[in-house]
């Protein structure tokens, strides 16, 4: 007698080791195969866009720390760029360079967690992520030096940054950039040709190029699918047009490509930081900005290449001290649009690896 089977619904999450936060994948399974998947959001929704309407322009900066809390510096940067565009504020050279250094350090820190967590999801439990946390710790120490915080930095200000760097910062940063390429080589030796990683990641969770563009994907997810698109090159902000760096891209858009793109981007970030350290000018780190900023009536959109993709802030001003509307283009949320297409037909374990390879941060998804 044949055994009769029927699909059943399994909730992965909201609290599950693979969800990187509080996120629910409502999967319909046929045995071990994912037939359908529906993402359920909102467990970390704090209404940051609404809260921003009640804060002064400067008071919104700490809120942006709590979006993608693995990349607070990048969030700060995108937001202050939007306010500066709206209010027409100029930024001193030195502050621009410091911003670039912080944003690139932040990219390395975020990618380290992304890669480590992805390998965790693939089953390389805890060993790779602990190596990567070892290096991220050095970056957090550097951030601690400049702003006294390890996670929610609140470092950038409209018109510059809050403090100049202390004397011990540049020697410590120099030590870091000299050692970091060696660490990345170490990961490569450990992982690049690792049989288990190749089997788990190659050809799994493919996001074709056309689909990646159509779903507005950004960052390593888009580049992993072979689209050479990076806001730092396509629409340079701050002083990014003064640095030489490459845009790594993948070919087929599988989990392995996204992993490779992140590893290569870390090398490029180190390159940018080295150039920025050489060119770092002296001078002020903050221009004269009134305590309460009242931008003229109007609107502005500023976007940056955050570690997870294009992060944009759309601000509307009614000439008061608070933004009339502060809309956030969150890359983590938009990158999840194709998750359903990417996991259907794969086994549960592959779905978890695919989800890990997208690299999201729930603070930014739910806002």
């Amino acid at each position: 007698m044949a055994i009769k089977t029927e699909p059943f619904v399994l909730n992965l999450g909201p609290v599950h080791p693979s969800t990187h936060g509080v996120f629910r994948m409502r999967t319909t399974l046929d045995g071990e195969v994912v037939v359908d998947m529906e993402p359920v959001f909102g467990y970390l929704h704090r209404g940051i866009e609404k809260l921003a309407e009640e804060r002064t322009y400067t008071g919104v900066i700490p809120l942006t720390d709590r979006l993608d809390y693995l990349a607070s510096m990048s969030n700060n940067l995108a937001y202050v760029l939007a306010v500066e565009k709206l209010a027409g504020t100029t930024v001193p050279e030195r502050a621009e360079y410091l911003r670039v250094i912080m944003a690139e350090l932040q990219r390395i820190a975020s990618h380290l967690i992304a890669v480590g967590a992805f390998l965790n999801d693939c089953g390389a439990f805890m060993t790779p992520i602990l190596y990567m946390i070892r290096e991220r710790e050095k970056i957090l120490d550097l951030f601690d030096m400049v702003c006294g915080q390890r996670l929610t930095y609140n470092y950038m200000r409209v018109g510059g940054v809050s403090h100049d760097i202390p004397d011990e910062f540049l020697p410590a940063l120099d030590k870091f950039v000299r050692r970091m390429p060696g660490f990345i080589d170490e990961y490569d030796r450990l992982l690049e040709k690792n049989e288990i990683l190749l089997v788990r990641a190659k050809g799994v969770g493919i996001l074709p190029k056309e689909l990646a563009i159509n779903i507005s994907a950004g960052g390593p997810v888009l580049r992993g699918s072979g689209v050479k698109w990076d806001i730092r090159k396509a629409d340079p902000y701050s002083v990014y047009d003064r640095f030489e760096f490459d845009i790594p891209t993948g070919t087929v858009g599988d989990c392995y490509d996204r992993y490779r793109v992140r590893i290569e981007e870390m090398r490029q970030s180190v390159r940018i930081i080295k150039q920025a350290m050489e060119q770092l000018p002296l001078g002020a780190v903050k221009s004269e900005v009134p305590h309460l900023i009242r931008p003229p009536v109007g609107e502005a959109y500023a976007h940056i290449e955050a570690p997870k993709g294009e992060l944009g802030f759309y601000l509307v001003s009614d000439n008061s001290i608070a933004p009339y509307r502060c809309a956030i283009r969150a890359p983590s949320l938009i990158n999840l649009t194709a998750l359903r297409d990417m996991v259907r037909g794969w086994k549960v374990a592959d779905a978890i690896a695919t989800f890990g390879s997208i690299d999201i941060c729930m603070g930014e998804v739910d806002r």
Partner: protein, 146 residues
Amino acid sequence: MTVALSGQEIADKLDKQFPGGIVESSQDSLVVNSEFLLMVATFLKDTPDLDFNYLTAITAVDYYDYFEVVYRLTSMEHNHSLVVKTRCYERANPTLPSVVSLWRGADFQEREIYDLMGISFDGHPNLKRLFLWQGFKGHPLRRDYW
């Protein structure tokens, strides 16, 4: 550098194609009559020298008199961008056509606007609240929500 196309110039081009479709235009953006939104969007996406294949973001703003929905379009091929807006004057049950059929990236963003701003999108495959739970009263991002 991404070139921000002049809303005015594009509006002149569109006005010939869709008489009455453009409400107003400025250097930064153009405002489309919501009935023409889908046609204009299709034209912007499929015309080779415009080729807006990438929908960067959608947002909505509540101006009390009307809701303004902002579409930020980018062409990766030509590296240019355009801001298209549309307005919705009804407050009780505002509805706009969905652009998910053109850019699937609109999927979650339209659901978010529906959830927080209360604008329905006609033709959306799965229009329900994104962040808040079913049965939640009101739409928090409206300016009159307290």
